[in-house]
């Protein structure tokens, strides 16, 4: 169940859209922010807010890279593996992240803190290798910098 204030806000968002569907991505993102991931319950709540069936929300939710339909850690790490970051050895950074976190790509750390996912070009090609942690972008990564960032992000919770 979502709090009444969030529900009201989302209802207002849907009402301001030209068609209810148009607000689908916003609603899914907000519910994801609330639950940590887009739970089955959240899909059903989104459906009722948008006047769609849960399946119709699922059709959208499963299309987008940044909507999580599986449980994730408190912070999701998206590490770019596209060409510009590849040029500056993102593979090494990804290996370092896997080792440091003790997970494979797609995995969540045992403490539930981080989920590690590869992602497509983040538009940080000038600052590669790049990643985002919980939505905060980080560039010009080195193994040492990655360690610092992870430590800092852990502390921020």
């Amino acid at each position: 169940m979502i709090p009444e204030t969030l529900k009201k806000a989302l209802e207002a968002r849907v009402a301001s859209a030209i068609t209810a569907r148009e607000a689908a991505v916003d609603v899914m993102k907000e519910l994801q922010a609330h639950y940590g991931w887009l739970t089955d319950e959240a899909v059903e709540e989104a459906a009722s807010l948008l006047g769609l069936s849960p399946l119709q929300v699922e059709e959208l939710a499963t299309f987008y890279e940044m909507i999580y339909r599986r449980p994730v850690g408190k912070k999701v790490i998206h590490v770019c593996d596209s060409i510009s970051c590849w040029c500056v050895d993102c593979d090494g950074i990804i290996e370092h992240l896997k080792e440091k976190l003790g997970v494979a790509l797609g995995g969540t750390t045992a403490d539930g803190m981080f989920t590690l996912l590869p992602c497509c070009c983040m538009g940080m090609c000038g600052d590669g290798p790049a990643m985002s942690v919980g939505g905060i972008p980080y560039g010009k990564l080195t193994p040492e910098l990655v360690d610092e960032i992870l430590e800092m992000e852990r502390q921020k919770i």
Partner: protein, 651 residues
């Protein structure tokens, strides 16, 4: 009218026709998966590639999505087009399982056909095949997602065409998945069409899986006998069992699709408990012995009570042939009563429809689909004519206004695949000059004045009927003075009945003698009848049915009558003791077990002959004789003009 050349053949087609359809019009089948005439163009599978050699467009193009234009020179056999089509097959086979031998679709699979046709045999891709988890989709449809070739036909049908919202497409790229949010039975009453529309074996008919291959089936063109729409079907039978029923195209009646009742409600056809043998006083007997007994009993009853206290009662389950002969049978027993309906309201409704509808005002499928304004009047559309709900949806999607008029019964509001405005009376529906307006009403249980009022409104009319062939019952009731049995019975005018496929409630025949009963199922009348004559169902007989709009359609016998082989009682191989004593059993039998059933009209013809009437070889005589050669694969023929000017049969 664009003129083009396809494989050296000049073709002229209507504007807007695709190259794929233009090719088809001259007998060239361009392979395709995602293209389906009933659905919007997807251009997703890319199999229908052709090469344009000259004209306004050049090079490789997808023929399904390319409107035919003047001056086009199309090659369907160009090496580059062929290679493209081969590659599409190869791409699809990268992930399609090699399970044809154990796939229920094998033998009727479009993917199998085109894979063979394209010559694909060698696997060049060295990676693994992707796999999916299947979902439970209910008791009627089996899901096998690994076979999917992502043509999007299912979702385009389910959501776009049929208005369902609980099944669709999730994921993306190579993880596209067609299913539900969570496992569970599909909600759409049209879900069974997924079986027909899937070009491979993702959706198979769970009620008939692994029973037979396509080439094993006995099947023939038939007409569904569940409601008065008369959708065209093809029952697929094996070893005297109706395994599956699939939709059959008729653009005038049902398009390509059928409802789930038409497809899955077939258990009664295969019921081993169905009456199969003639009975006389509770004991089985030869069929002719029973007919003799019935004739004798009718004679005796008339001698004792007078013909006017005997009713010959049929129902809308009878074919037109049976209904015509029922009238002749009643006439043979001079003064006997004729009933096609038990309920008085149903008779009134069907007779009114027969009287009021004509070639001009009777709306059919296309009229509904193209209507600008539709009023649903006092009916439960999803119950009385589900396929028409899809026609209304089509009109709705094209911008038509839909009104739901409260009446008796109150129309069902739930689950209609379109949105509507509810109004209290028909006067509130803004038919503008009646131009492209359609009123859809249930004909049963209405007073005639009301129906007169509907017919005078200027809009075209649909009067759905209380049974599959009730329109014929209405027409013949007018012609031969048919009465409602319940009214005769409650007025105490009836002492005896002869029933043909009539469903008489027990309460109506408490004080009535059931002289004889012919039916393919059992009921109160059969239980009471000293003479019982088993009849064939519509899948086991040839016949004609007239649907709600007055369209006569011929259905063919799709299989021989008799007990299904599956679960056949050991008694048919001799007694249980014999079977143990002697194996293999040596009980000689020349007939199909339980195959004694006869068509109801043939039983009537034999009775007429025994009661002093003449020998009847052909039931469709007089003004009905024009239907004699009705082609079961035609779109049927509307009877209004046929029946004009020749009001009486000559027999």
């Amino acid at each position: 009218m664009p003129k083009l050349i396809i494989d050296d053949i000049p073709v002229e087609v209507a504007p807007g026709t695709s190259v794929l359809e233009a090719a088809r019009s001259v007998g060239i089948t361009i392979p395709h998966f995602c293209y389906h005439p009933a659905l919007a163009i997807a251009a997703a599978c890319r199999l229908c590639a052709v090469k344009l050699l000259d004209g306004p467009v050049k090079g490789i193009q997808m023929s399904c999505a390319l409107p035919a234009q003047d001056g086009m020179v199309v090659s369907t056999t160009d090496p580059e087009a062929l290679r493209m089509r081969q590659l599409v097959i190869e791409w699809l086979m990268i992930n399609h399982p090699h399970d044809c031998p154990v796939c229920d679709e094998g033998g009727e699979c479009l993917l199998q056909d085109f894979t063979i046709a394209g010559g694909h045999s060698r696997r060049r891709y060295q990676g693994k095949k992707r796999t999916f988890q299947n979902q439970y989709l209910g008791e009627t449809i089996h899901h096998e997602m690994n076979r999917c070739i992502e043509c999007y036909r299912c979702v385009r049908f389910y959501q776009d065409y049929a208005g369902g919202t609980d099944f669709g497409v999730t994921g993306s790229a190579g993880r596209v998945y067609f299913g539900r949010f969570q496992e569970g039975a599909l909600e759409s009453p049209f879900s069974g069409n997924l079986v027909d529309i899937c070009p491979t074996g993702v959706f198979t008919d769970k009620t008939g899986r692994f029973r037979a291959r396509y080439w094993d089936y006995q099947f023939a063109p038939s007409v569904c006998q569940h409601c008065s729409v008369g959708c065209n079907t093809a029952p697929q039978n094996f070893q005297r069992e109706t395994i599956k029923i699939v939709g059959r195209r008729n653009d005038q009646v049902n398009g390509w699709f059928i409802c789930d009742r038409a497809r899955f409600d077939k258990g009664y056809l295969n019921d081993p408990q169905r009456p199969r043998e003639a009975r006389l006083d509770g004991a089985t007997c030869g069929y002719d012995v029973a007919i003799d007994a019935a004739a004798k009993a009718i004679g005796k009853f008339v001698a004792q009570n007078g013909a006017e206290s005997l009713a010959f009662v049929g129902s809308s389950r009878l074919s037109l042939e049976g209904m015509i002969l029922l009238a002749q049978l009643a006439r043979t027993v001079d003064g006997a009563r004729l009933c096609y309906f038990t309920d008085g309201g149903e008779l009134t409704g069907s007779a009114a429809a027969a009287r009021l509808l004509n070639e001009k005002n009777s709306a059919y499928l296309r009229d509904i689909e193209k209507a600008e304004c539709i009023a649903l009047y006092a009916l439960d559309l999803m119950e009385e004519g589900p396929m028409l709900a899809l026609a209304v949806r089509k009109a709705f999607l094209a911008g038509a206004q839909i009104y739901l008029v409260d009446g008796d019964p109150i129309p069902a509001r739930e689950k209609l695949p379109f949105t509507f405005t509810a109004v209290a009376t028909l006067d509130e529906v803004p038919f503008e000059g009646g131009g492209r307006g359609v009123v859809i009403a249930g004909a049963g249980k209405k007073d005639a004045d009301l129906l007169d009022q509907l017919a005078s409104g200027g809009a075209k009319l649909v009067m759905l009927q209380p049974g599959p062939n009730a329109m014929a019952g209405g027409l013949l009731s007018l012609e031969f003075g048919g009465q409602a049995f319940s009214e005769l019975a409650s007025a105490g005018k009836i002492k005896g009945v002869v029933c043909f496929e009539a469903d008489l409630p027990e309460g109506l025949i408490v004080d009535v003698e059931v002289v004889a009963c012919a039916d393919w199922r059992t009921g109160a009348a059969a239980a009471k009848a000293p003479v019982f004559l088993p009849t064939t169902t519509w899948v086991e007989s040839d016949g004609t049915a007239i649907n709600y709009e007055g369209r006569a359609q011929r259905f063919q016998r799709t299989r021989v009558p008799g007990l299904p082989l599956r679960g056949l009682d050991p008694k048919y191989y001799g007694s249980t003791a014999d079977a143990v004593a002697e194996h293999p059993p040596r009980v000689h039998r020349k007939e199909v077990p339980g195959g004694a059933e006869r068509d109801a009209w043939r039983v009537m013809a034999q009775l007429i002959e025994r009661l002093g009437g003449r020998t009847i070889e052909e039931p469709l005589t007089g003004r009905w004789s024009k239907l004699k050669d009705l082609d079961p694969e035609s779109e049927g023929v509307r009877v209004f003009n046929l029946l004009q000017g020749d009001p009486r049969t000559d027999s």
